[in-house]
C-alpha cells in the first residue's frame, strides 16, 4: 500500500496595536480586539503581573472599571489572576496550574480569551497555559515592559522553565492580538526602561544599520527617559522583529536563529546569576561577547566593534559580568544547541547590519573575548 503524503497549511493573523492608557473607558482598543472574536459578550480571564499592580496602584480597579463600561462585549468571568513578575512566574508549576484551573472552572473555551498583562515572563507563562488548555485558548498580550513591547511579547513563542533550564517547556503559538500601551512604561525603573533597549540594538545589528545609527542618535534622550524616543525605538524594533518572524521559518524547524544573536551566553548568564541580571542586560553582555569574538577572530573591523560596545555603554547597559569568567559559561553553547536543535549555529557580525553564521566556536578565543571585556568591569559594576 502506497505511502500517503500529508500536507497541512496554516495561516495565522494577528494585529499589533500601539496605544496609551488601555484601561481608560474611552480607549476602544481592547474592546474592539475582543469584539473581533465574534458576537456576544466574550469570556475573558485576565492574568496580571504583580509588578504592574505595584507600579500602578489603581490598575486593577481601572481594569475592572473598563470591563464594566464594556460589559456588552467583555465578559470578565473572574477576578484577575495576579502572579509574580520575572522568572518566578516561569520557574514553578504553580502559576501555570493556576491559569489552567481558572480556564477549567470558568468555562473558558477556544473562542474565549486569556488577556495577559505584564512583562515577558508573565506573557510567556500565561501564553503557555493558554496554548495548552483545550489545545489553544485565544491569548491577548498586553506587554508592560520595553523588552516585552519590542521583542518577547510580539512573537509566536510561549514557555516556562523546567529542569533549571530556561524555556525548556513551550510551544509555537501565535497570539490573537498584541496591544502595546506606552503609558505602562512610564512607571518602570530606570534599569527596566533601559535594559529593554538591548533587543532593539540586537535587531539593528543583524538587520538594519540605519536603525543602529538612529539608536546612537537617541541614546541620550533614551537615557533621559524621553517617551517619544522610546516609542520610536519600540515601533521600529517591532516592525523588524515581526518581519523576521513572518519570514521563512517562523516555527524554527531549521538550525539558523538570527534573533537569538548574543543569546547563548545571555541565557547562561541569567541562569548563573540566578536571574539577578535582567534579560536585556544579559543580552547586552552576550552581544558584547559575540561582537568581541567577531573582532578577535578577524571577522569584524575594530572600529565597528568599538562603536557597538560604546552604544551599549551609552545606553547604560552592561557589557561585562563576573560570571563570564566561570567555567560553566561555555556549557551555554551546548545547552543552546540542544534547545534549538540541529547543528550549533551562532551568529557573528562582519559589520553593523551584516551578520554571518558560524558552526564552531574556538574556546580559547572566546576566553580572550571575555578578558577583553573585563576592562569594562569597573564601569559595569556600578
Amino acid at each position: 500500500m502506497e505511502t500517503i503524503h500529508q500536507t497541512v497549511r496554516i495561516e495565522f493573523q494577528y494585529p499589533v496595536h500601539f496605544t496609551r492608557r488601555i484601561v481608560d473607558a474611552g480607549n476602544s482598543v481592547l474592546r474592539e480586539v475582543i469584539a473581533s472574536g465574534g458576537d456576544g459578550g466574550r469570556r475573558v480571564i485576565f492574568v496580571v503581573d504583580e509588578g504592574v499592580c505595584t507600579r500602578e496602584r489603581r490598575f486593577l480597579q481601572q481594569l475592572e472599571g473598563y470591563c464594566c463600561a464594556h460589559s456588552g462585549v467583555i465578559n470578565n468571568v473572574a477576578r484577575p489572576i495576579v502572579v509574580p513578575g520575572g522568572e518566578a512566574a516561569k520557574n514553578s508549576r504553580e502559576y501555570v496550574d493556576l491559569v489552567r484551573s481558572a480556564v477549567n472552572s470558568h468555562g473558558i473555551c477556544r473562542h474565549s480569551f486569556i488577556a495577559a498583562i505584564g512583562g515577558g515572563a508573565v506573557l510567556d507563562m500565561a501564553g503557555y497555559a493558554a496554548a495548552t488548555s483545550h489545545r489553544g485558548v485565544r491569548l491577548i498580550r498586553l506587554p508592560s515592559t520595553v523588552l516585552a513591547q519590542n521583542d518577547s511579547g510580539l512573537g509566536v513563542k510561549t514557555s516556562v522553565n523546567r529542569f533549571g533550564k530556561k524555556n525548556f517547556l513551550g510551544t509555537f503559538t501565535p497570539p490573537f492580538a498584541v496591544i502595546n500601551d506606552f503609558e505602562l512604561l512610564e512607571s518602570l525603573s530606570d534599569r527596566d526602561w533601559l535594559s529593554g533597549a538591548a533587543e532593539a540594538v540586537k535587531v539593528a545589528l543583524i538587520k538594519d544599520r540605519a536603525f543602529f545609527e538612529a539608536i546612537e542618535e537617541s541614546a541620550e534622550p533614551l537615557r533621559r527617559r524621553k517617551g517619544e524616543a522610546m516609542e520610536r525605538l519600540i515601533y521600529r524594533c517591532a516592525q523588524l522583529h515581526l518581519e523576521h518572524i513572518a519570514g521563512s521559518d517562523p516555527f524554527e524547524t531549521g538550525s539558523s536563529r538570527p534573533l537569538d544573536f548574543g543569546h547563548w551566553a545571555a541565557h547562561k548568564l541569567e541562569q548563573l546569576t540566578n536571574y539577578g541580571l535582567r534579560h536585556g542586560e544579559a543580552v547586552a553582555i552576550g552581544m558584547a561577547l559575540d561582537v568581541t569574538y567577531s573582532y578577535l577572530t578577524g571577522i569584524l573591523p575594530e572600529k565597528a566593534w568599538r562603536r557597538i560596545v560604546r552604544l551599549l555603554l551609552d545606553l547604560g547597559l552592561p557589557v561585562y559580568a563576573p560570571d563570564l569568567e566561570t567555567r560553566e559559561l561555555l556549557a551555554g553553547l551546548t545547552e543552546f544547541r540542544e534547545h534549538l536543535g540541529g547543528e550549533l549555529t551562532i551568529l557573528l557580525l562582519r559589520d553593523i547590519g551584516h551578520p554571518v553564521e558560524v558552526h564552531q566556536i574556538e574556546t580559547e578565543r572566546m576566553r580572550e573575548s571575555v578578558l577583553a571585556l573585563s576592562e569594562y568591569a569597573p564601569v559595569c559594576s556600578k
Copy 2:
C-alpha cells in the same frame, strides 16, 4: 502609530507509511524515516505501550536488535520508556514527566526524535510531551491498534487528561511521520480489533457512502479477523481522515468539527464508565445515539437509521450502555462545547454520507433516542 498586521504561514508535511514487521532488520521504513531527518546518527527515544510488550513478548528485544542493525542512522540513546496503555497513560502527570525528563537527560533536541509505539492514548501522551519539550521535538508515531492506525494516530493532535476531563491539555502539532505496521494488529484482542472499526464507520457516514457499503460487505470477514479486510478498511479510513485534516481548518479555530461526529456522548460515556468502554465502543454508541436522534427528529429516513445500527451490531460494536440513561450524560454537550469552543455544533445525518450541522439539541428528544436504543441493551450487554 499604525497597527502592524502580522501574518504567519506554516506548512507541515509528513508521510503516513503502511508496512509489516517494522522491527525486522530488513524493513527499511523506520530507518529511512529517521535518515530523512538529516545526516548522522539521529538521537531517538522510544516510548512503548506496555500492551505491545505484553502482546509481543520479544518486541523490545527485536526493537533493540533493529536499532543495533541500523546504528549508523539510529542513535538509540536510552532504554525504551515503557508506559501503561489506555487512559492511564494520560490521566497522571507521571508519564509526561518521565518522557520530558528523558528528553532533558539524554540531550534530545528539536532535530532528535521521540518514537512512540502504542495505542492512541500512548501516542497522545508522548506527542504532548514531544510537542511541549523545547517547543517541539520530532515525533514518529507507530500506532499499534486499529483505532490508532485509522484515526487518532494520523492527525495533528496531542493531549493528556486533566481536571478529570479528557484531552483538557494538548496541542495541535503534526507528527514528523506515521508508520502503520499491520502486523502489530494481529495480537489484539477481538474487542480491540473490532472497536477500532467504529471510526471507519464514522468517516464513511459523514464523507463516503461507497465506503459505508464496502464496510457492510466486509463486516463478516472483519469479525472473522481477516487481515486483508482490515488493512483495506484502515487504508481508506486513513485517506479520508487525512484529506479532511488537510482541508480548511486543521487547527480547529472554527466551531464545526465533523470528525467529532458521535463524540460528545462518546467522551462523556468514557468518563462515566471510568474508561471501562473502549474509545471505539463509546464512539459506536455515540453515533448510534446521534443517528437515532437524527431519525426521531425527522432528519434521517428510518431505513438508513436501521441500516446504520445494523452495521454497528454486525461489526460486534455496542449501540447502548446503561450510562446513557444517567442524568450526567447531557452535561457532555456543555463539556464538548467548552472543549471545542464557539457555538455548540453537533453533526447529525440526513443520509449515509450526508451530514448536517445543528446548534441546538432537544433534551426530551435525546432522552427518547436513548430509550429507543435501550431495546438493544440485551445484545450489547454480552
